[in-house]
């Protein structure tokens, strides 16, 4: 099951700034909602997102309950060399998801 959608260019010129779009399937339950019987719905969100480019960290984000369900994050990076961009989401209740995209730099 594809839990995440990644949109990144497969090829790029050396030194070009590329845009990476990520969408992860997740409820992002805020913890501020209640059931009809008045019980609080426990928080279940993605708390952190990090991107590494050939092992070097290029982007990091802390997410709060105010990020909408199915967190969508877009960021930029410089295409320095061919290799792997790894994206990692971590969250409440031990949640963790990792995706990789390969990029070829010419």
């Amino acid at each position: 099951m594809a839990r995440a959608l990644i949109n990144a260019p497969a090829k790029a010129r050396r030194g070009a700034v590329i845009e990476i779009k990520t969408l992860l399937s997740h409820v992002m339950e805020t913890g501020f909602r209640f059931t009809s019987t008045g019980e609080s719905v426990p928080r279940d969100i993605i708390t952190a997102f990090a991107a590494t480019y050939n092992g070097e960290e290029i982007f990091r984000a802390q997410l709060f309950p105010a990020v909408a369900a199915n967190p969508f994050i877009t960021f930029h990076t410089v295409a320095t060399e061919s290799g792997m961009i790894e994206l990692k989401w971590t969250g409440d209740n031990g949640y963790s998801a990792t995706e990789q995209v390969r990029i070829t730099v010419e």
Binding site: F32, F34, G38, E56, A61, F64, P71, H76
Partner: protein
Amino acid sequence: MSEQDKKATRRDVLKIAGALAAGCAAPWFTASPAAATPAEMQTAVARVIGDARLNVGKVKLDIPPLVENGNTVPCAVTVDSPMTATDHVKAIHVFAEKNPQANVISVQLGPRAGRASIATRIRLRDTQNVLAVAEMSDGSFWSDRVNVLITLGACLEDLI
């Protein structure tokens, strides 16, 4: 239709309207969490910037001024910076003054980003100001503030 009938009809309509309003309002008051106040947002901002001065400018917070659904509001932040090793944006923080929690998202960037531009989708509880703060590599802080009008706020969806 007699005058009496007309009055009765109007009274009925008002009665129904009142009952509906009460029915909608009751769970809203009990189920909705206390909203943060602008003062709480100031505290959240102060935790990030400390004693530094918050300048206005350089940052562009791109968010629609009128939003129908507060559950997903597109939000983009772009900072005017060359993004070199000596002059770049270190972090971008987004705050909302009337959400239950003022922090929305915080990101860390570096010269490797190439362009200080991020986009995401956020939740907004009510019509309010949204603030974006950028931390530069020289230690200065720049910001942009946008007032967003929300027709249907987040946190008001049906109880589950």
